[in-house]
């Protein structure tokens, strides 16, 4: 892949919203004028099974339709996947891993292959979600963390666009909008680099 865009791989479990976060990221990048791809890779369809989703965010139309093997950034929505999936596989030099966890980046790094040398970012997306939304929806804080780390969109623009997106998405339950907005802002503050 030419370095004229950003490629992101998401790891999650069916039902956790990794695909939704991936599609939301495509949405907000689209709103900022980019060419985007957001697509899931499905294995057997069942709740809890590992799923992968991908984003390409570029300044030119994107022809490639394969999966992403050499991502700039990887987001792990479920920490338990670190034991079974090689989430760091192919991460480019200068890239980063973003994990939903209550652990520190140092603790997470010990769980990764020794040859992984790029950055590790941790965000306790479950805690942020419980405190702001009142339920465990880790994908909203994870999305904010990925935007913060990847810088694919200007943060202010992102916050502005997400309000519009939530107002549209939650048109029938507007009471959840503020909690979700708060989740984005808190996640951007609480993410820990290592």
């Amino acid at each position: 892949m030419k370095r004229d865009g950003v490629e992101i791989r998401w790891h999650g479990r069916g039902g956790q919203g990794a695909k939704t976060a991936c599609l939301l990221l495509a949405d907000v990048a689209f709103n900022s004028g980019k060419y985007v791809q957001g697509f899931p890779e499905y294995g057997p369809e069942r709740m809890g099974a590992p799923i992968t989703a991908y984003n390409r965010i570029m300044d030119r139309p994107c022809n490639v339709h394969s999966n992403i093997y050499f991502p700039d950034y990887v987001a792990v929505v479920d920490e338990t996947l670190l034991k079974t999936v090689d989430v760091t596989s192919g991460i480019k030099e200068g890239g980063a891993l973003v994990v939903n966890t209550s652990k520190s980046p140092d603790e997470i790094r010990k769980m990764l292959p020794e040859d992984y040398k790029e950055s590790v970012y941790c965000i306790d997306a479950q805690k942020v979600s419980m405190e702001t939304i009142g339920k465990n929806f880790p994908n909203t804080p994870m999305l904010a963390a990925v935007v913060k780390v990847s810088r694919v969109i200007d943060e202010q623009q992102f916050i502005h666009d997400m309000r519009e997106s939530f107002e549209h998405k939650f048109a029938t339950k507007p009471q959840v909008i503020e909690g979700n907005m708060k989740a984005l802002q808190v996640a951007m503050k609480e993410i820990v680099a290592g």
Partner: protein, 395 residues
């Protein structure tokens, strides 16, 4: 002004259907095309269309609904995939022989054995002899554009049409798209006014009677003629579509073929990945090209053969096996089309991408490399090959 949006391929098809506002949709859900009737039934519930939606018990029922509706004089649509298409098999031939212009979105998925939900073309390739027109898309944009054109092509030819796109890869992949304004689509497809139809009390007729031997063959010959006559219709509709949108369509797209020495012929989303390989190899000075086949039925034998003759060696890529022990369906038709021509290129086959096996830019490098070897050694080697099989013992 076109409407800039980002949609999945399934959303794009559902949007096209909303804009077309067909009379009847018969549908039964199957992955990965389920979202199409799902979104569309939302448009019905919200009063965006006045289509009669018939939620049937099976795909056999869905196609039967479309056949009944179309014979009655209605514009009918449906969507399916894989085993769903297989379950329609009997009715596919009925629709085609009754010359009913049904527009069907096919979201390509592997046929079961072993069960698999991911993309290959075994479903629609299996239906290639059913008498349906078949158009394939590389992107969500093309799926949308093809569906809108498909309605007109089908009605003008009085042949049913499959508008195919790659399961999950484009059906569930969200990317940029330019939509056409509702009123422009409405004007483009117009009102469906069939010449003969069951609900026309002025001119009663029977449809689908027994075809005794003295007549059966003439019916088939007429279907074959209709397939032949669809060639100019496809181009006329493409011209009309170009005038509306500025987006150009033909039987196939030639990508950097003018001075190419070797080329790949491919259908569907993989063509995009192949184009990226072409761009990168061209940047290194390698003269490679690509032909993306859009229309598989009718098979554009003569123009495609001429395009392939621009190069010295061609690799034809099949995302379906035919277990003939002599290559996939696209390969056999491509290779056969070259037979009468002088200066024909070497023509080899790769079976790839079965059951969602991913194909990457680097895989295309390998194929182009193989083609240069063939060209330089003047020897095609084994023409029936596989790309992307994990275990070399199976090669």
């Amino acid at each position: 002004m076109a409407i800039r949006d980002r949609l999945s391929g399934n959303e794009a098809i559902a949007t096209a259907m909303r804009q077309i506002n067909p009379d009847v949709m018969g549908a039964f859900p199957i992955t990965p095309s389920t979202e199409i009737p799902q979104y569309f039934s939302g448009y019905i519930a919200n009063g965006k269309v006045d289509t009669v939606f018939v939620p049937v018990e099976s795909e056999h029922g869905a196609m039967s609904t479309c056949i009944g509706a179309s014979a009655a004089g209605a514009r009918a649509v449906t969507a399916t995939s894989s085993a769903g298409l297989a379950f329609m098999w009997e009715l596919l031939y009925v629709a085609a022989s009754m010359r009913l212009p049904i527009t069907m979105a096919v979201v390509n998925r592997a046929l079961t054995g072993p069960i698999n939900i991911n993309c290959d073309h075994s479903d629609s390739m299996g239906a290639r002899d059913s008498g349906w027109l078949q158009i394939y898309a590389e992107t969500n944009q093309e799926a949308y554009d093809n569906f809108i054109q498909g309605v007109l092509i089908s009605e003008e030819c009085r042949l049913p049409i499959m508008i195919c796109q790659d399961g999950f890869i484009t059906s569930h992949g969200v990317s940029n798209i330019e939509l056409i304004e509702d009123e422009k689509v409405k004007e483009f497809v117009g009102e469906y006014e069939p010449e003969n139809y069951l609900l026309n009390a002025e001119n009663p007729l029977a449809v689908g009677p027994y075809g005794i031997s003295p007549y059966y063959m003439e019916v088939k010959r007429k279907q074959a003629q209709a397939m032949k006559d669809s060639m100019p219709v496809i181009m006329d509709v493409a011209k009309k579509f170009y005038d509306m949108t500025g987006r150009k369509y033909g039987f196939f797209e030639e990508y950097k073929m003018d001075d190419a020495e070797v080329a790949i012929v491919v259908i569907g989303s993989s063509a995009g990945t192949g184009k990226e390989a072409v761009d990168r190899l061209r940047a290194e000075g390698q003269k490679v090209g690509l032909i993306k086949l859009r229309v598989f039925r009718p098979f554009p034998r003569i123009p495609l053969a001429e395009a392939m003759c621009k190069v010295k060696a061609v690799a034809v890529m099949d995302r379906a096996e035919s277990f003939s022990n002599s290559g996939g369906p696209l390969f056999n038709e491509c290779r056969s089309s070259l037979y009468d021509l002088d200066n024909k290129p070497y023509c080899i086959n790769y079976i790839y991408g079965l059951g969602g096996r991913d194909i990457q830019v680097e895989d295309f490098y390998e194929i182009y490399k193989d083609l240069f070897v063939i060209y330089e050694n003047d020897d095609p080697g084994d023409v029936y090959r596989y790309m992307g099989v994990r275990d070399s013992r199976f090669l």
